[in-house]
Amino acid sequence: MNGRRTFLRGFLSVLLSGGAIGGILKILPSKADAREAPPKGQKWYGFGVSVDKCIGCARCMEACKNENNVPREPFFFRTWVERYITRKNGTTAVKAIEPNAEPSPDTASDKSILRSFFVPKLCNQCASPACVQVCPVGATFQTKDGVVLVNEKTCIGCRYCIQACPYGARYLHPVTRTADKCTFCYHRISHGLLPACVEVCPTQARVFGDLNAAASPMSRFLRMNKIHVLKPGLNTEPKVYYANLDGEVR
């Protein structure tokens, strides 16, 4: 008798607690599943990177920080540029370059270097994003035009998405204490402007546009180049497409 009473009391209190309400009646993250491919006519944004054009000048990183109020400290990035150095013995070292760093022709005379190049990176705005799936409060979501955004009003800063992102594209904003990442400059593209990094790139290594458009720099980029995406085996279906990507980068 007594056992049943304590059980019922416990059961009721669990039922009344917020977590159980959310869990049983599915208040929040129930609809946070990834969207399928877009209908025709709907904008579906994509991004192109020509690796062989990047000169590693870090103008994109600078512009991104200016445009999006990304903290100035050198370890918070929405977009960054990595320098790959492949040596003759087959090893590859990857290092993110620093904006405004003194130009250093350090490796020019190093004979053990086989090749080296720059690879710009940013949020891949996956069509099937891991970060959206793991968010426990539905704060990360995909817009109708395919951009993955963070709702900073509901983000609780649990960092699941930062862990889940296979591309390391997210960071915890030190001021708002919420997850932050590249939004393709959503405030710019929805007003017909280019993302800030595309705007300032001096060599047109970055291309942006609507993947559904028949004629645009983006569709031309996809048509004229051999295209790779990063970590294709994860089935995240990235919408950042790389041209002339070295086999070391995947």
Binding site: A63, F141, L149, K153, Y186, H187, L193, P202, Q204
Partner: protein, 251 residues
């Protein structure tokens, strides 16, 4: 409370408690919690609106052309034609809204241009690069190069002015005595439009064979390593395997 329930049989009292509790939960979830707190669609629409409302700082390429049309026309013809104004001058939305008070940056000094143009082996070949330490020290970049229409102040005479890496490599190789023009024919226009008009490369095996074939007669060929063109390399042009600027003899 306890007395109230004594009227009912024990199981019924318990059932009432459960039903009441469920009712309370239902009221909390469906009535008391406001809709924006439980409907993600509303939250997302809200977030999209907030995201779209963020202030723009980079005005974009065409905005500058409306006033600075002369500079725009100059730049359109030069090598910096694909460069956005704001790449060098920084975000300019404020300048557009208030042209007198807010002035964009004009980068001076010798640190800005080298961010793109300092020699870096990871940069793509052919991108114009200099060594900022050795290149006309203490001189402002803009004193020789117009940033809106950059080109070398004088057309370079030597190939090494642009192809320094190759020149330095050749200088310590067995091909040190060969002029660039021995193997390459550079049209005069190459100095003006280096990328659209390119020098030639040897296209036949017989060209290298002039020195390196078994029966080479050329004066220069006295000490050159020789091979039988008929047996060696078959269908390939020599430079498809050997790098002529640093032939790998001693390795």
């Amino acid at each position: 409370m306890g007395k109230l329930f004594e009227k009912f049989p024990d199981p019924l009292a318990r059932l009432i408690v459960v039903v009441l509790a469920l009712l309370v939960v239902g009221v909390i979830v469906f009535v008391l919690i406001p809709k924006p707190m439980k409907d993600v669609e509303i939250q997302w629409a809200d977030a999209v609106k907030r995201e779209q409302g963020r202030p723009v700082k980079y005005a974009g390429f065409h905005a500058c052309a409306e006033c600075h049309d002369k500079l725009y026309e100059t730049k359109k013809k030069g090598y910096h034609r694909d460069l956005s104004c704001e790449t060098c001058h920084g975000p300019a939305k404020g300048h557009i809204e208030n042209p007198d008070k807010v002035k964009p940056v004009i980068p001076v000094g010798r640190t800005f241009c080298p961010q793109c143009h300092a020699y870096n082996p990871s940069r793509p070949r052919g991108f114009p690069q200099i060594n900022p330490v050795a290149h006309n020290p203490l001189k402002q970049c803009a004193s020789c190069h117009n940033p809106h229409d950059p080109k070398p102040p004088t057309t370079p005479k030597e190939c090494s002015a642009c192809h320094g890496e190759i020149a330095r490599m050749k200088a310590v190789s067995h091909h040190v005595q060969l002029e660039c023009t021995t193997c390459h024919e550079a049209p005069r226009q190459h100095k003006v439009s280096p990328r659209s008009i390119t020098p030639t490369k040897p296209q036949t095996r017989e060209f290298c064979g002039k020195c390196h074939a078994k029966d080479a007669k050329d004066k220069l060929a006295k000490n050159a390593p020789k091979g039988d063109l008929a047996e060696h390399g078959e269908k390939y042009v020599c430079w498809q395997c050997h790098y002529p600027h640093s032939p790998e003899v001693e390795q």
